[in-house]
Symmetry: C2
Subunit: 404 residues, 2 copies
């Protein structure tokens, strides 16, 4: 079975079909967690799973599992999957690729009448992106015991709608407990979302770990005042404070190049109208680095800048740097050898459901290149042959890991 490869055309046509759900005019996807579009994407995935003969289970967090029995069903299964939700201006591949690559593994085994020793399970996790409901990766987090179910159900979007209510509304509040059982191994295939594989002309990233990430609210208080009548000297203008504070923060990041990541993704002034000096400005901060100790140091220096500006930095999410399990990494190395693809070892810049999964299962990841390293962008793009190569590596890895 060393030469077994997936069906490139089928995988690609399903990627393109799924991309029609929530398609945006610029060629991207808006299929944000627990919206009507997310429901439509889930329904299509479930339909494909059923026609591939998988048994479907929906858990309390709306995670969708499809199970294929093995020869020895008392063995713990090998798990693979990713997520179907997207950023508001997301692309066709982020998440979806890992879900449909796992499905393609199943289809290829079906085509070749191969029964694995251990059973296989494929999965689509709810709300990986965290674009509508923070924190990100909340459903794999509940699954891995990081978050309580009640906490997750009560998370709200900007309109005040909760995950719990929205899961019910779209019909994906399942009954299976959202709690990890025993797994033989777990793999997640994903686009790299960065420029490294493309630049180095490698088809596969053997992912050895994930950089640490921390999210904060940066709050700058001012005083609401009339834009026409309040002299400049009499103002407490949080935007003026932000201009200086952010400039210093970017300069701090320059000291930690090339590995630091510093992002101010959202800025919300209150009341946010043209002719009032805002009384408050809240800015989200995302910092990442492969080494937790350097993140500690960066956070401390950033906090000094923030405090020197009379502002406040509140952490609301933290994901420690992760090192994947050597056995799973070596399984992926062997799978790469079986498929004769070019590969390199690398650290993931992004968080993934595999981060939480790695707490409860031997886990690693498989990356494929994406054009210009672009992701969380409607122009996100990947090559058909790379998608197929990654899925074939996943197939080989699952075959190896499922052996008794």
């Amino acid at each position: 079975m060393k030469d077994l490869k997936v069906n490139e055309e089928r995988l690609w046509s399903r990627l393109m079909k799924m991309a029609q759900i929530g398609a945006t005019p610029k060629g991207g996807v808006c299929r944000v967690a627990l919206t009507d579009e997310d429901k439509d994407g889930r329904d299509l995935f479930v339909q494909w799973c059923e026609s591939a003969g998988l048994k479907i289970y929906i858990d309390e967090m709306g995670n969708i599992f499809g199970r294929r029995d093995g020869r020895f069903n008392d063995l713990p299964p090998v798990l693979s999957g990713s997520h179907l939700d997207s950023q508001p201006t997301g692309g066709k591949f982020d998440g979806v690729y890992g879900v449909l690559a796992a499905l393609e593994v199943i289809e290829t085994l079906n085509d070749n009448d191969i029964i694995t020793d251990a059973p296989l399970e494929i999965v689509s996790w709810t709300n990986e992106e965290g674009a509508r409901f923070t924190p990100a990766m909340i459903a794999s987090g509940v699954f891995a015991g990081i978050f309580d179910l009640d906490y997750a159900y009560s998370r709200t979007d900007k309109e005040g709608l909760t995950i719990g209510d929205e899961l019910k509304r779209i019909g994906y509040a399942g009954e299976k407990p959202a709690k990890a059982e025993s797994y033989k191994a777990a793999f997640e295939a994903h686009i790299e979302q960065g420029p490294i594989l493309e630049n180095e002309k490698k088809q596969i990233g053997i992912v050895t770990g994930v950089q640490g990430a921390r999210w904060y609210h940066l709050t700058i208080l001012g005083r609401d005042a009339h834009a026409g009548t309040t002299p400049m000297e009499a103002r407490q203008d949080p935007v003026k404070v932000a201009a200086s504070l952010l400039s210093q923060a970017y300069a701090l990041a320059d000291e930690y190049l090339p590995d630091i990541r510093l992002t101010f993704g959202d800025l919300r002034p209150s009341p946010g109208v043209v002719n009032t000096v805002p009384g408050k400005l809240v800015i989200t901060v995302d910092i990442r680095h492969p080494v937790d100790e350097i993140l500690d140091e960066f956070e401390e220096k950033l906090n000094k800048i923030v405090q020197a500006h009379g502002a406040k930095l509140d952490n609301f999410w933290k994901s420690p740097a992760i090192v994947f399990h050597p056995d799973c990494i070596s399984t992926v190395e062997q799978a790469v050898a079986n498929t004769d693809t070019s590969a390199k070892h690398m650290i993931s810049g992004a968080g993934h459901d595999a981060v939480y999964l790695s707490r409860v299962a031997l886990t690693s990841m498989i990356f494929i290149p994406c054009k210009d390293g672009l992701s969380h962008n409607e122009l996100e793009s990947a090559k058909k042959e790379d998608a197929s190569a990654g899925a074939s590596v996943l197939l080989q890895a699952m075959l190896i890991a499922s052996k008794k």
Copy 2:
């Protein structure tokens, strides 16, 4: 009638009663244009007008007029009023004061059985604030022939609702043409919204003009990118550009102190999520100065900074500096003398409906102090005795102006 004064308690109790509609926990008011709260405020005002014997007319823009006949009804009327709508985090006095001061003039004349030569009209203008629908002062603008009715009806709020539809929804789309007729004179009483009268311990501002104001959208384009995987050097981050651009803009404003006003009231990143570098950042810009030529110069220099950052500045509203009519100013001076209040001549820092009204009628304004110069703020505050003094000056001015 030189000693005639308004009823301080009645005026104050009505100000406090109106402030209960849309009252906020911090003591302010949220009675944004064409909301349910705005409707409630209008209904209360109309009820008071009717019980004061005024004839009510609603025009196509929802402006509410109350008319009191004079001895010679072929004379053009003397007009006074302001607006009942507020900022989202507004105060109890901005606008409301001028409407209820005008009503108090009518009540005082009724109490004293005084019939003026010319008829009197009082008015509440729709959407002065521009907080929900831009531009500000749109309804007095239509009235003065500055904007087309169709343009005004089609203005949308953040949710895409239009002024036309919202006027109908709250029952204030009237039939009277929104078009100025002939007026003998027009006066608007208002809180100063700045600190000058309070600092100089004067009770009345004799307003000789209004500073010029211009609104822009500042658009900074970037490239949507994943916050974890995109190296800092590979980013096009509009927030980083903004930090530098805004710092330079504030420094430019420092060169034009004390008369310049520069405000960045709203910042909207797209998509505006924690883990994506925004692809676009749009910032509103409000600049004001008493001299149009200096505004021209400031705009030109600001535009150079904007262009040097690869960004774009689009003007979407402009209000030229206004000089009020000498006859009306002298009428207010005489009214001040009649009431024996302390006063100073001043320029208005804020735009007002009187700006547009001055294009079609002899116009001026009467200011009273507000605490700490605060306005567009829930803590906005004015003294009972100042409110009453301003209304008595308005009463005297209307008596003088209405003489045959």
